[in-house]
Amino acid sequence: MQLLSGDARRAVFAPLDDGALRSEAVVRRVGSAIALGLLGDGEQLPTETHLATMLNVSTVTLREALAELRKLGLVETRRGRGGGSFVRSRDDVLAELADARLAELGTTDLRELGDVHGAVAAAAARLAASRASRTEIARLRDIVDRLARAESVTDQRRAEGRYFIELAACAQSVRLTMQEMDLHLELGQLPWPPEHVPELLDVIVAGHRAVVDAIEDRDQARARALTEEHIETRTLWSIELRLQRVADDAVRQEVS
C-alpha cells in the first residue's frame, strides 16, 4: 500500500513516537482507524514486517499488539494461502476501547487536545469564511446534513471527521487539512458523547450549521468564535465524561 500525504490512512500507519507502552499505542491507533472506517471490516492489514516498519516498532511489539487486537476481537488471523490479519469492526469493542482510553488520560490531556483542535479548527473556519467558494460551502452543508441523518455511532464519527477536514480544505490549506486528519485519529480514540447522551448530536449539528451559516455570510470573526466555542463545549463534555467515570468507579468500589 502506497499512501500519499492527502490520504487520511497515512496517519494510521505513521511512525509511533510515544516511546513507552508502544504495543498499546498500536492497539489504540488501529482501534481509532477502525472507528473512523479508515480500516474497513474485512480489510487485510499489511504483513507484520511491513506494518512494523511503517509504525517504527519492533516485530515483537507488533506481535504483542496484534495478539491484543485478536483478543479484543478487532483482528482475525487466518493461516495458509490467502491468510493474514483481517480487520473486524465491532462497535461494542470500540466503545470499550474508547472508555479505557478515557480512563488513562487526565483532564489536562483532554483540555490540551481540545486546545489544539480549537486552534486548528477555528483558524480554518475564519479562513474558510473568506476563501470558501459557493461549491465548497454547499459541500460543507451536505456533510453536516449527513451527520444529522447518520444513525450509527461510527457513521456519525466519520461524518463529523469529514466536516472538520473539509473545513480545513475550504481554508485552502494543505497543512491545516493534514493537522485535522492527525487530530481526528486521536479524537477517534475517545468516547463519542452522543453515544452516552443521544440528544448531544443535535447540539453538534446545530453548532456546525451555525458555523457554515457564518462562512456563507462571509463573517470571519463569527465563524472563528462559534468554532472556538463549540470545541470548548466538546472539551468540557469529554472532561465531564472522564470525571463521571471516576465517580462511577468510586460507587462501584463502595458497593463491593
Binding site: M1, Q2, L3, L4, S5, G6, D7, A8, R9, R10, L36, G37, L38, G40, E43, S130, R131, A132, S133, R134, T135, T154, D155, R157, R158, G161, R162, I165, E166, A168, A169, Q172, S173, V174, T177, M178, M181, H184, G188
Partner: protein
C-alpha cells in the same frame, strides 16, 4: 525597448503565457486520452487489466513536464460490477520517483475519496468538454494544492472516465513567473469562482477569493481557452514601516 509597455500589451502577454501553459498541460491530457483510447482493455472491462501503457509514465518523466500527476480515472458502473478505479501516476515531491495513487475507495471510510462527486470528474462527464478545477486542496487524494485538468474519454459513444493532469500550484507559479520575468504592473489571474490562481500582488495571494465589492472592476481580460480572467491592479508595496 522604445517606451513603457502599455497596459493592454501587458495583459496580452500575460494572457498568452497562461494560455500556453494551459494548452501544454492539456496536451499531456490528450496524450493520456489517446493512450486510453488505443487500449484493448475496454473489450473486457471486468478483467481488471490496466488500460494505460508505459507511455503515460514516460510522459510524466519527460524533461520539462509541468504536470506532477497524470492518469485515467474510470467511471464506475455498479450495474456491470465495475468498481471505482484509478490509473494515476504522480511524482513524489520528496524523492522525485513515480508512485501510483491508491486512494481510499471505501464509501464508509472517513478518508473516502468520492471522486465521482468531484468537479474534475463530474463536469467533463456532464458537459463532455474539457475542464480545469482549482486551485484546491485535493483532500483524501494527493493531499496537495493543485490545479486539475481533465477531459472526458468516450469509447463507442459511452463515457468511460476522464483523462487528466495535476499541476501543483508551486510548479505552476514558479514556471509562469519565470517565463514572465519582470513585470511593470502587478496582476491577478482569477478562475470562474473569482479565486486567485496566480498573483503578483501580495495583498491577494493565491487561493484567496476576490471580495465581491472591493475587487477590481469587471474589466478583467478573458484568457484564451480557459474561463479565467486577468486583472491588472495598483497594489503598492507592503514592505514599508
Amino acid at each position: 525597448m522604445s517606451g513603457p509597455t502599455s497596459r493592454a500589451d501587458e495583459v496580452t502577454r500575460v494572457g498568452a503565457a497562461v494560455s500556453a501553459v494551459v494548452e501544454r498541460l492539456f496536451g499531456a491530457v490528450a496524450a493520456v486520452r489517446a493512450a486510453a483510447l488505443r487500449s484493448s482493455a475496454w473489450d473486457e472491462p471486468r478483467s481488471g487489466r490496466p488500460v494505460l501503457d508505459d507511455s503515460v509514465r514516460d510522459l510524466l518523466r519527460a524533461p520539462g513536464q509541468l504536470a506532477v500527476g497524470l492518469g485515467l480515472v474510470v467511471a464506475p458502473q455498479p450495474g456491470r460490477g465495475l468498481p471505482l478505479r484509478l490509473e494515476w501516476w504522480q511524482v513524489d515531491p520528496d524523492s522525485g520517483r513515480l508512485r501510483t495513487l491508491e486512494p481510499d475507495l471505501k464509501p464508509t471510510s472517513l478518508g473516502y475519496y468520492d471522486y465521482t462527486a468531484a468537479e474534475w470528474f463530474d463536469v467533463p462527464r456532464r458537459t463532455t468538454r474539457r475542464h480545469v478545477v482549482g486551485p484546491y486542496v485535493d483532500v483524501h487524494g494527493t493531499g496537495r494544492y493543485l490545479l486539475t485538468l481533465t477531459e472526458p474519454v468516450v469509447v463507442e459513444g459511452e463515457f468511460v472516465g476522464v483523462a487528466g493532469a495535476d499541476v501543483s500550484m508551486r510548479r505552476f507559479e514558479t514556471h509562469l513567473l519565470q517565463v514572465l520575468g519582470r513585470l511593470p504592473v502587478p496582476f491577478l489571474l482569477v478562475n470562474g469562482e473569482e479565486r486567485v490562481v496566480l498573483s503578483t500582488a501580495p495583498r491577494s495571494p493565491v487561493g484567496s477569493l476576490l471580495p465581491p465589492a472591493a475587487g477590481p472592476a469587471p474589466s478583467g481580460a478573458a484568457v484564451p481557452g480557459i474561463p479565467w480572467r486577468l486583472h491588472l491592479v495598483d497594489d503598492g508595496t507592503l514592505l514599508r514601516a
